[in-house]
Amino acid sequence: MAVAFEIIATISDESGDPATTTIKVPSGFSLAQYVEFAAQMGTILDAMLAGRLESLDLALTADLSALTANIAGAASDVEELGRFSFRTGDNRPVKLNVPALNESLVAVGTDDLDLVDPAIAAVESMMTDGLAVTGGTISPCDVGEDDIISLEYAREGFRP
């Protein structure tokens, strides 16, 4: 069964309160085509609103059926986190908190994650060097698209 993509419209009212509505659209088009659709639908939607159309976001879900060893293990707790902090080229901090951290990845006698463990090293490499995809490399960044270049720390943490 095909699962539709969503275009989520965020609308604010006179007092600035936001709300959303969702328009389902078929998958199979390019980003450029969805941008064209959004420009026209934005105009059409705006004409119906007393509120202000703040944004339209395209949301899609990746198929994760090919993941391996992806089951919730015994005694797993989402409150137990792998807290990663990275720095961008402009030295801005970027946090990544991974829920249900595997405790075996914590260096003995510390709360630091074992950076030489292949699983942790893979996270560091993904965030600082990116991942190769067909036709390019996608490298994580901050909200302003400043590229992540270094790991600041990686440690165990807990969320109440």
Binding site: M1, D13, A19, L60, V98, A100, V123, S139
Partner: protein, 163 residues
């Protein structure tokens, strides 16, 4: 300022408690490339977690610079005042519906809770759903969850809800 694309990873632990992690990546890639990244990064995150990665949702901000949008909300605009709009799809029993917040009061028929389907703004919206919007190389027509095309309007009325 260009805002980065956001990937939100859903997790669940042994007790079924949900949580999430987020990674931002640059604009400029294709949907297929973002999907490839989301799948590969999900495996890397699953490898350091004892929880299960349940989803990887990619959110791309769409450029609205080509749209005509009012600069500020009108006086009296309220997100609680919604229009409930429902369409049948081409598959019997499947419907597409949405609730549009802060709809313009003038678009409702006086003395009723029905949207005025003769109003130009409402007709344009219904047409966009029923006929789609032409884009370069094709037409994108809104649909239901399962990508069934919308066929006809069944409900267009006022509704008061927070969510």
């Amino acid at each position: 300022m260009v805002l980065a694309v956001s990937i939100r990873y859903g997790f669940v632990d042994e007790k079924g408690k949900p949580s999430f992690a987020k990674i931002k990546v640059p604009n400029g890639f294709s949907i297929a490339q973002y999907t490839e990244f989301a799948q590969a990064s999900s495996q890397i995150l699953a490898n350091v977690s004892t929880g299960q990665v349940t989803s990887a949702s990619i959110s791309v901000g769409l450029d609205l610079s080509g749209a005509t949008i009012k600069a500020t909300a009108l006086a009296g605009a309220d997100i609680f005042q919604k229009a409930l709009i429902q369409f049948n799809t081409v598959v019997a029993g499947f419907r597409a519906r949405l609730k549009i917040p802060a709809v313009w009061e003038n678009l409702f028929v006086a003395g009723s809770d029905q949207l005025d389907q003769t109003a130009g703004a409402v007709q344009s919206f219904v047409s966009a759903y029923e006929d789609g919007i032409v884009v370069t190389g094709g037409t994108i027509q809104p649909c239901d969850d399962r990508e069934n095309d919308v066929s006809s309007l069944t409900i267009a009325k006022q509704l008061f809800r927070k969510k």
